[in-house]
């Protein structure tokens, strides 16, 4: 399977691809079989995946309102990176083994779609294979990704622990309302965040950032955010549109900077 942008000569072609309606049924960006296996395994075949076992977690609290944190002991990632001279024209499809378990991928897909649900023409995060990208990220052998691995796997474990403590079930088995009740408590990191949610809110913020990045750099996300570049322009670079200049003029006026405006030739 090719990644977006590789089967075609222009990014525009990718925008024409039919979005698949059900995320259990889609072709993934890199490794759909892995994710399909994971999703199947999450409901009935827990031994299907060749991934590492679900990390053991310990709880320091036993009721909602008490701080708890999974102290994960993650095995080191010993895979090699893509090296100093990778093929830039045809980047490696699977640069290192993916490591998320079926259960982790399932929780991740649910959280990704809570963070980025389908909106009109814009697909949800899992519809554009965001969980696969997150899996690639946290499975990478580089220091910064290894730090994120601990943060994000801890967040996933915490969320399942919280689901057990609060609703006696895995996060993925909860009703949508129950899931949102947990997310509502951890999705805001500010001065009002209760003490027991401060640590998870920070970890969740890292996951949120990664999900958003993975989403907005897909062809669909690029369309959603309005990035219009990466297309060749013949002749002179046109610069801002009339609408953009009008917005700038208005901004300069509001800031009292009109008299200092740069004169575009």
């Amino acid at each position: 399977m090719k990644k977006p942008g590789f089967m075609h000569t222009t990014a525009g072609d990718d925008l024409q691809r039919d979005p698949s309606p059900a995320y259990t049924n889609r072709l993934s960006r890199r490794d759909s079989l892995k994710l399909l296996a994971a999703l199947a395994a999450s409901t009935m075949l827990p031994a299907l995946s060749g991934c590492e076992p679900v990390p053991t977690t310990t709880q320091t609290g036993n009721a909602t309102g008490t701080e708890h944190w999974p102290e994960l002991k993650l095995p080191a990632i010993n895979a090699k990176g893509y090296g100093k001279d990778p093929n830039l024209i045809m980047p490696p499809e699977a640069p290192w083994p993916l490591t998320l378990t079926p259960a982790q991928l399932t929780t991740l897909a649910l959280l990704s779609d809570i963070l980025v649900p389908q909106e009109g023409d814009s697909p949800s995060a899992s519809q554009v294979q965001v969980p696969s990208v997150v899996d690639e990220w946290v499975s990478a052998p580089y220091p910064s990704q290894q730090r994120d691995r601990l943060t994000i796997l801890s967040a996933l474990a915490w969320i399942d622990d919280e689901a057990q403590l609060r609703f006696n079930g895995q996060f993925s088995a909860l009703t949508a309302k129950q899931q949102l009740a947990i997310v509502d408590d951890i999705a805001y990191d500010n001065e009002n965040t209760p003490l027991q949610f401060q640590r998870i809110a920070k970890a969740f913020a890292r996951l949120r950032n990664l999900v958003l990045a993975a989403y907005f750099c897909t062809p669909q996300g690029i369309k959603d955010i309005g990035y219009l570049g990466n297309v060749p322009i013949a002749g002179v670079y046109p610069g801002p549109t009339a609408e953009a200049y009008a917005h700038l003029d208005n901004t300069l006026a509001q800031l009292g900077l009109t008299e200092f405006a740069y004169q575009v030739a």
Partner: protein, 559 residues
């Protein structure tokens, strides 16, 4: 090479080495060029139009690819496997190397600003550092020739920091974009002028190179040749004369001398066979990069040259300078939710802020002696591995925060002149060798008050401009925390400086070693000072001028 009677052997295929090869072969001299890295062809290897989503980790930087997956640098970066460098205790320094044909010109920023008479004569003005051994007027025609050859877009601004190019030399600059225009207005309120950047990017076709089509970051390399790199211009042009041969994967170890101390050739490691090879040459030009050339000289120690070759002055490895670097960025509320359009442009600064403080420094109103400029950031760039902002919540409201922030961050990157000081130098580590058995460079580094005061001034100025744009900046970091590490701006120069006396410099104004007349240096090592203007244009201009002088000497039978 028995079938190829070369006169000049050049070490390095980057800005200096490729320009020397171009000028010498053009004048009919046969040249053999050695490159430590592999062969590299931008026409087939540049990842044009490749989206971040198709790269591992959304194209993010990693220790394998420090500037992101698609950066053109191969087999290099802050570390080269098997080829370490060391740092003296208490020193921090980063050394960027590209082990590839074309060297760092494949990925450089292409900013191409001329040094001025003011820049060349700093010591005469304030007693600090060193003067260059020529006047601006001596080099001005060579700047014109170099700019015309490589293709530079920009304008003659008339500002005292920017000497004018000859009539018709510069290509038209691209139209400024909205964040740059807002910064320009806010800066103007503070009496600071933003102007078109000068960049070695074609806005009109030149020779076999196409004009920029305003897509694909130049740092990935440029398969159409619009963004200047030696691999799409000087090297193929030199090869077309029939007078150039190139050996890649050739890591030079030492320059060899005869029993009288006269330079006779070089010794190099053929990386493919891991064997040591010898080559004789009538004239040798080192252009391996400032610190690599100095390393070769220091490693070429013999009884006739006990301190290293060309080092009777003791200045080889000394006077190591980088540009100062610091950055400040902020979210500008007035830019949130602004109308979308294609803001790629030539993918770097259309406008920048040159140094405006010449008069203030002359009037002793500033507490630091040398200037800086600001490179300006902020545009609708391709989404990548990181999303900025203090994001909260989830769902449609979360996505709207990301959309609102998109293109609303602006940044100021300070690039300033540092002065040489006795604590900043490189020598040879007495213990450590690389995998080829070559003793490695060891770096010593310490910023002085001159640089810290300059950075402090820059941060305050950037904050003032940002606040004029309505941004909240908060408390500024201390200059010693904000300043980038030595070497991090990748403008390291000065380790084989030129001068007017053999007592305190390594080469004369032609890059010719005082000690060994048939040995030249044509990389950034020869810089007598390091003005805030990015060094590559001047490396190329000096290499062209000095190769033309060398060609005259060869024709006159003087070498």
């Amino acid at each position: 090479m028995d079938d190829f009677a070369y006169e000049v052997l050049i070490v390095g295929s980057g800005a200096g080495g490729a320009m020397a090869a171009y000028e010498l072969t053009r004048q009919g001299h046969k040249v053999l060029l050695l490159e430590a890295g592999r062969n590299y062809d931008p026409k087939t290897e540049t990842p044009m139009f490749r989206p971040n989503s198709a790269a591992p980790l959304m194209g993010a930087s990693t220790p394998d690819k420090d500037f992101g997956f698609y950066d053109s640098t191969v087999d290099g970066g802050w570390q080269v496997p098997g080829e370490p460098y060391t740092k003296a205790e208490g020193s921090d320094f980063l050394w960027w190397r590209a082990r590839m044909l074309g060297g760092r010109t494949n990925h450089w920023g292409r900013y191409s600003l001329r040094f001025s008479e003011h820049d060349f004569k700093g010591k005469s003005r304030d007693g600090l550092g060193a003067d260059w051994p020529f006047e601006y007027n001596d080099i001005a025609p060579w700047y014109d020739k170099t700019e015309a050859l490589i293709g530079v877009c920009g304008t003659n601004t008339g500002l005292d920091d920017m000497p004018p190019s000859g009539e018709g030399i510069l290509q038209p600059p691209p139209t400024p974009r909205v964040p740059e225009l807002l910064i320009a207005a806010a800066a103007k309120k503070h009496g600071i002028t933003a102007v078109p950047m000068h960049r070695a990017v074609l806005t009109k076709p030149l020779d076999s190179r196409a004009a920029c089509f305003y897509a694909t970051p130049c740092g990935h390399g440029c398969s159409i040749g619009a963004a200047f790199q030696t691999t799409t211009s000087l090297l193929p042009m030199a090869q077309a004369t029939g007078n150039l041969r190139i050996i890649t994967d050739a890591m030079v170890k030492t320059v060899t001398v005869d029993s009288s101390g006269k330079v006779t050739g070089i010794s190099y490691i053929d990386k493919k066979t891991a064997t040591e090879q010898q080559l004789n040459a009538r004239v040798i030009i080192l252009a391996a990069s400032a610190c690599e050339s100095a390393r070769i000289l220091l490693n070429s120690k013999t009884t006739t040259h006990p301190n290293g070759l060309a080092n009777s002055s003791g200045q080889v490895g000394r006077n190591l300078m980088d540009s100062t670097g610091a950055g400040l960025s902020a979210l500008v509320p007035a830019l949130m939710n602004r109308p979308r359009y294609n803001e790629d442009g030539h993918t770097a600064n259309h406008l920048f802020i040159p140094w405006w403080g010449h008069k203030a420094q002359a009037n002793k109103e500033l507490d630091f002696p040398r200037g800086y400029h600001f490179e300006l950031g902020g545009r609708f760039s391709e989404p990548g591995a990181y999303v900025g902002g203090n994001l909260q919540g989830y769902g449609p409201a979360l996505k709207q925060q990301v959309r609102a922030n998109y293109g609303a961050y602006v940044s100021f990157a300070l690039r300033g002149e540092m002065l040489p000081n006795e604590h900043c130098y490189m020598d040879i580590d007495p213990e450590v060798k690389d995998k080829w058995g070559i003793p490695v460079a060891r770096f010593h580094w310490q910023w002085s008050e001159h640089e810290l005061k300059q950075v402090e001034h820059g941060l305050k100025t950037a904050k003032a401009i940002l606040e004029t744009m309505g941004a909240e900046v908060g408390e500024l970091p201390a200059a010693e925390d904000a300043i980038k590490k030595g070497g991090e701006i990748i403008h390291e120069v000065g380790t084989t400086r030129m001068g007017s006396s053999s007592a305190d410099s390594v080469t004369n104004q032609w890059g010719q070693s005082w000690d060994c007349p048939n040995l030249f240096v044509m990389d950034g090592g020869v810089f007598a000072s390091n003005p805030h203007k990015n060094c590559t244009l001047t490396i190329m201009t000096l290499a062209m001028r000095n190769s033309a002088w060398l060609a005259e000497q060869l024709k006159a039978g003087k070498l």
